[in-house]
Symmetry: C2
Subunit: 324 residues, 2 copies
Amino acid sequence: MPVTIRDIARQLGVSHTTVSRVLNSKQDTFISQGTRERVLTAAQEMGYYPNRLARALAGGRTHMITLWINETHAPFYGRMVYYFQQHVWENNYEMVISAYSGETGLLLGSSEVSGWPSDGIIAVDLLRSMGTPLSALPMPVVTLGVFYDPSVDYVGVDLNAAATEVMSHLLEPGPRRVAYLGIAEPDQRHSIYTRAVREAGLEPEYIIVPNGLRACTRSVVRDYVKAHGCPEAIFCHNDDGAIGAYRGLRDLGIRIPDDVALVGCDGIEDTEYLDTPISTVAQPSEEMCRLGWEYLKRRMADPSLPLQQTVLQARLVIRESSRR
Amino acid sequence: MPVTIRDIARQLGVSHTTVSRVLNSKQDTFISQGTRERVLTAAQEMGYYPNRLARALAGGRTHMITLWINETHAPFYGRMVYYFQQHVWENNYEMVISAYSGETGLLLGSSEVSGWPSDGIIAVDLLRSMGTPLSALPMPVVTLGVFYDPSVDYVGVDLNAAATEVMSHLLEPGPRRVAYLGIAEPDQRHSIYTRAVREAGLEPEYIIVPNGLRACTRSVVRDYVKAHGCPEAIFCHNDDGAIGAYRGLRDLGIRIPDDVALVGCDGIEDTEYLDTPISTVAQPSEEMCRLGWEYLKRRMADPSLPLQQTVLQARLVIRESSRR
DNA sequence: TTGTATGCGTTATCAT
DNA sequence: ATGATAACGCATACAA
């Protein structure tokens, strides 16, 4: 049976209020040096530890942050989990990871959105809007990544400039077979690819993978190349795709970049450790997390703050995989 | 202002108890079809959502699981976070990630060990004991990995057999320079290496890295080889080390496995995607997580259950990096 | 400087 | 079938 402040109070013959005061030791509340010490040592000896549930219920603040994120098996998102973890811990918060389930939708007007009530939410790459603006939530939200909700704090990334650069880079040697590899669902990168290819007077060529898993991409690419021959360049939707493709191509003895140029997107560490490091559109994910946390912290401290919104630039990192 | 069961009760002219009953709708509690429906629709319309804080405080169960894990930036642990997430969510729990801070030690006798009270703890690769047995905690704990506490449920991995195999594998071609790469702190793998090398009548050779980061290992290996020449085989403490070493060796134009054989440990996906896939001691991490969750679930359902403890076997996966 | 009383939102125990 | 009332452990406005 856990010991409560009442137990301590009884033991010492004081009121539980006094104990509470000592334990929370605000600067502005005055308590005698004597009782303070007695309470402190008693708490220590009796093995007291605050019940955060009760504390949160009474105090209205949970000291808990919800990280709303999907696909944490992917290194890119896994890394973001790690970054936020660091920030959250360093600031004496706890972090609960939740996933956004598009099916159920958001349960607005309650702190239940996150499964658990929390003091703030970080939402990473939310897939789509949910009808109601995020600002309707009872706690502050900071949105990160592709999804933009004008009503809340936001740290975005602009992939367009870098993606456009990728296409110039790949088309620079002159017209050739440049393919795009990704899942069926189109996005910014997809359309930038298509536009650039069309502008170059070429036909777009899509290598569709059913999911983002490397193993899957590997075999899809193998089959694709066997059936259609190998493109001269491939722009991959993300680095996991690029790595899967890399391996699939190597399986067939195809050389990179001699036979085919490869570019990915995200900037995960793994792309640097292959024999032929892969060019990529590097997202400033560490900075995004740092800034996102900063925004949330400020917002929690002062809800009336003006909207904090920034869009960071991704940058093209050219490595061996696309050098001629 | 969130709507509470009292609000609903007032609105409908019933007691909050009734509302609570309807909402929790136990099979054995009887309530008239009429009120049931009225409460349900009112709750819907008023946008009621239960306060899990209050629910947990009153009910004694949080529906929250604590994952106690470190180094989540490493793919191996990142993956485990993902696996547990899946299990936890599928069972309608929430998951909070905590780190074990050796400095503060454990605060036993309270549910505060995890930062937040939770219904159960999964502790992955706990570094060391904390004086008190884990069974002293107020909630069930399942321990995973290297650390063994006989007093609680446990899913372990035996790396010894596989590590011994690694050494036979590497020494099979006859006596040669076989080095061990790892952090300074010795462990099972380290000692198995040392023993095997000594038994072969050779001198152990250690490549010490200050931390587990790939970038770091990469440069350490480069410097080491420049200074001492290249060993003919390297057994790496883990796959991240192996990948860092791989890249460092390739930087110097050293061929794998022609010039040096490489073996890692853990079995992360990345080792398969290099041009020369790296041999590794694969841990059954998915199975560990599955079983660990199973144990915890059972324990939470029935605390009086006999101890559940299993040790799984890691297995040596030989790939190109160590083939002659 | 310290104590009393009340509330946080819910579940649980007894009544009725 | 439903309602009063008491926990749960703590914080806090107000009183002393």
